[in-house]
């Protein structure tokens, strides 16, 4: 895709609007768990389809920098991106938005109201549904690891309560690592009951499965994805932050296991 020269040159006001909109879309993507390649491509497509000639983007782990170019004029802007809350509905919505712009269905004003709507999309699933299903998911993992019915039940209780604790703590904006350690601690306390009282065949499985809800799977997969596609800086950063979160899980668990006097290996 070479920069086309047919596009009419834009003035500074229009360029400002375009850079604002495309960075907004990029911020939504990066914040809700998209990989770096997707952020770059989407921001570039958005900008060029809205009328600027070329767009240069730099995605760093917690900020996006972009420059719009049209004719003689260019503008640059930085947008901070903090926090990671995986939300596939928003990623999907931005993807659809980008397609609609490509087809010429939306102008700048339409894009602004669409982005407004997308950034306010709420979760499709109620909180108690998520608590229940994440508990069941971790319990299903305990089955995959070979746990019996007792382990299944205890894992379900531990992970469901842990999911609730995590929701409550995240809502109060506690530090990310603190949330992970506290959640792992709560899950560990409940999941070490089978080991402490010798219920079931292989009670350690409950400990291993009850904290799986905290495993930063998206961060780690995106990290590997970024690295194989050449985005080393974001890839390494995501990998390290995923590793630190895993360390936090282990810390919370180790604390709970020490209090309960059980061994997890």
């Amino acid at each position: 895709m070479a920069a086309s020269t047919q596009k009419p040159p834009l003035n500074r006001e229009e360029l400002r609007d375009i850079i604002d909109l495309s960075l907004w879309a990029g911020q939504i993507l990066l914040q809700h768990g998209a990989e770096t390649q997707r952020v770059e491509n989407t921001v570039h497509r958005l900008g060029t389809n809205l009328g600027c000639e070329w767009m240069d983007i730099l995605v760093s782990p917690n900020a996006i920098v972009a420059t719009t170019i049209s004719g003689e004029e260019f503008r640059t802007k930085i947008r901070r991106v903090v926090g990671l809350q995986v939300d596939m509905t928003k990623i999907s919505a931005i993807n659809r938005l980008s397609r609609r712009i490509e087809n010429g269905e939306l102008d700048r004003f339409g894009v602004r109201s669409e982005l407004q709507r997308i950034s306010q999309i709420r979760s499709h699933y109620k909180r108690w549904q998520v608590v229940l299903m994440v508990g069941l998911a971790c319990a299903a993992f305990s089955r995959l690891f070979g746990g019996d019915a007792v382990v299944f039940g205890m894992t379900f209780v531990a992970s469901a309560i842990a999911t609730f604790v995590r929701q409550e703590l995240s809502r109060r904006h506690f530090n990310m690592f603190l949330v992970v350690i506290a959640t792992a601690f709560v899950a560990g306390l409940i999941a070490s009951l089978p080991s402490a009282f010798d219920w079931g065949d292989d009670p350690q499985i409950a400990l291993a499965s009850s904290v799986l809800l905290l495993v930063p799977g998206v961060a780690l997969i995106n990290s590997a994805d970024d690295i194989i596609k050449g985005h080393l800086v974001t890839g390494i950063t995501r990998g390290i932050s995923g590793g630190l979160i895993s360390m936090g899980i282990a810390l919370g668990l180790a604390l709970a296991m020490e209090i309960m006097g059980v061994s997890g290996l």
């Binding site: 997707r38 995986v86 999907s92 659809r96 971790c138 997969i221 180790a254």
Partner: protein, 160 residues
């Protein structure tokens, strides 16, 4: 014959439980409701094929690669079918493949190493290294596998 049926039974159970795991995490990731079934299918078939591969003698790493490639292909097809980006399906579907338990052993061994006796600490160190390396390799092959369709079919010049 009996052997084959027992393997099939094992894989069926495996697919059932991994579909529940994928469903729970898809809801945690707030996937669009219309794509929920696709995510669950990716999770069940991806993890089921890894288990099948391991039953037939593959290592956990090469088995994960097989599972992830299948998830990648399914995500690529589903993306066209349900008009959603492939990431929705591939990320939620590959969560059952993420080596949570292996990472757990690695981290726990590292933490226990802090209070280990130097004479007997070796086994903990070895356990931490083996599990840590395995975790990294599995995550690597998952990423390669789920982006395999894009790496093979969409080799356009980078636009940015």
């Amino acid at each position: 014959m009996n052997d084959i049926t027992s393997i099939l039974w094992e894989v069926t159970q495996d697919m059932f439980w991994s579909s529940i795991a994928a469903l729970g995490f898809s809801m945690l990731f707030n996937v669009p409701t219309r794509t929920l079934m696709g995510c669950v299918a990716c999770g069940a078939i991806g993890h089921g094929s890894r288990t099948l591969a391991v039953e037939f003698g593959a290592t956990i790493v090469s088995g994960s690669l097989i599972g992830a490639v299948i998830i990648g292909l399914m995500g690529y097809l589903f993306a066209k079918r349900w008009h959603a980006p492939a990431t929705v399906f591939t990320i939620s579907g590959s969560i059952p493949l993420v080596p949570g338990r292996i990472a757990y052993s690695a981290m726990l061994s590292l933490i226990q190493l802090s209070t280990a006796d130097p004479k007997t600490g070796e086994s903990l160190l070895i356990r931490a290294s083996i599990n840590g390396i395995q975790t990294m390799m599995i995550l690597g092959v998952i990423a390669v596998g789920i982006s395999a369709p894009t790496l093979f079919f969409e080799r356009t010049r980078p636009i940015v």
